[in-house]
């Protein structure tokens, strides 16, 4: 469940019952991933298809690490 507010998006994560306040681009990353397991490169390609992306895959990996720590993304 998510609710776009002004400065961020509030996301209620059902399995954990934790509310996350996500600023851009975290919410866009999660939306692009959906339920799929992706490599960083594949995710970068997906995001590039929908957004005007200037970030390196390295920067994307850093954002992903934050989402992993929050439990929203799992390393497989």
């Amino acid at each position: 469940m998510s609710e776009p507010l002004d400065a961020f998006t509030a996301v209620f994560h059902r399995p954990s019952g934790i509310t996350h306040l996500l600023v851009s681009p975290a919410h866009e990353i999660l939306a692009a991933m959906g339920e799929d397991a992706l490599t960083v490169a594949a995710l970068h390609a997906r995001l590039a298809a929908s957004f005007d992306l200037d970030a390196e895959p390295g920067a994307l990996a850093a954002r992903l690490d934050e989402l992993v720590e929050a439990g929203l993304v799992e390393i497989l």
Binding site: P15, S16, G17, I18, E69, G71, E74, I75
Partner: protein
């Protein structure tokens, strides 16, 4: 007035409750014993007065939230420990809900308890700390005591989620006379398919019985006994006695089953012994809760506090432990 005695009767046979039951006393005692979720599920679908139904629905809802939180905490521990490639066995409440057992239905779940091999403890500790868990007790005596004598690491708490994990390497303190076989516990554990496991049915009952009598001062004992009832009803007792003997837990398991039968009508084999003098004391202690939620019979309770320490530690150490605890009290208060 209703208290723990009524609570035990209601859990045993909810259909025998009369509509003019002291519902307030029953629910208060159940909350105090952390059994209100279990009671709410036992009474689900039975006719109760409307205001009672509302409170019970709320209790089921609360237990469902606790279940989800517990499973998520287990999942986070799994992710932190997966790279180590060690067996990780869930214990107690989290294990019951993860395995979908009747004992987990409505159960209150506090900390996450896991069992890992003793030689993996250091790696587990480091992996958990790297994943955001922190020490709760900075006290050097407590810390040394835990590491040397207890059956678990000092408790760790997650800095973001504020949830506690207890990492066990066996199910009783090393100071206790009884020495369950931790390698056998891990070898017989049943995988859940996600990288975590739960104890085998017999080991689960052995652990619950060891927990009931050898750990703590029987506080919360009624809930532990309800766990045992549910486990025995679900799994039966085939092979239980031999397994209990293997762990040196024959007496506590038989004793626990006797109490479960006396309070909840649990089925058990003939010849598992008759109540002795200690059993009468234990029963009083298990039922020491009134309809205001107050603990009753303080003298029995103190006797059990001393007894619980005596079971876990040889006498000379007990003196040292109590002395250090006593001497520290003025400084800490």
């Amino acid at each position: 007035m209703a208290g723990a005695v009524t609570l035990a009767r209601a859990l045993r046979d909810p259909t025998a409750l009369r509509l003019d039951t002291d519902w307030t006393g029953l629910i208060t005692a159940a909350r105090a014993e952390q059994l209100v979720g279990s009671l709410a599920w036992r009474l689900h679908g039975l006719p109760v007065p409307e205001p009672v139904a509302i409170l019970l629905a709320e209790a089921r809802d609360g237990a469902e939230a606790a279940r989800r939180t517990a499973l998520w905490e287990a999942e986070m521990a799994r992710r932190a420990l997966a790279p180590l490639g060690l067996p990780v066995v869930l214990l107690k409440g989290t294990a019951y809900v993860a395995a979908g057992l009747a004992a987990g239905q409505g159960r209150h779940i506090g900390d996450l308890d896991v069992l890992v091999p003793r030689d993996g403890l250091d790696a587990v500790e480091q992996a958990l700390i790297a994943a955001g868990w922190e020490w709760v007790k900075p006290d050097p005596y407590d810390d040394a005591y835990y590491r040397r004598w207890m059956h678990e690491l000092p408790p760790l708490i997650h800095r973001e989620r504020d949830r506690m994990i207890d990492v066990h390497h066996t199910i009783l303190p090393l100071t206790a006379r009884r020495r369950p076989d931790p390698d056998a516990l891990i070898a017989a554990a049943r995988p859940l398919g996600n990288g975590l496991a739960v104890l085998s049915p017999s080991d689960m009952i052995c652990h619950a019985a060891a927990h009931l009598f050898a750990d703590g001062d029987l506080a919360g004992g009624l809930r532990n006994l309800w766990d045992i009832h549910c486990l025995v009803e679900e799994f039966g007792v085939d092979g239980l006695e031999a397994r209990a003997r293997h762990h040196g837990l024959g007496d506590p398991v038989r004793r626990a089953c006797r109490h479960a039968r006396a309070l909840f009508g649990t089925a058990m084999p003939q010849g598992w012994g008759k109540d002795d003098a200690l059993d009468r004391l234990i029963r009083r202690r298990l039922l020491a809760r009134d309809g205001w939620g107050r603990p009753t019979r303080p003298v029995t309770r103190f006797a059990f506090y001393v007894r619980s320490h005596a079971l876990r530690m040889p006498p000379a150490m007990l003196v040292r432990h109590l002395w250090i605890k006593a001497r520290r009290r003025p400084a800490s208060s």
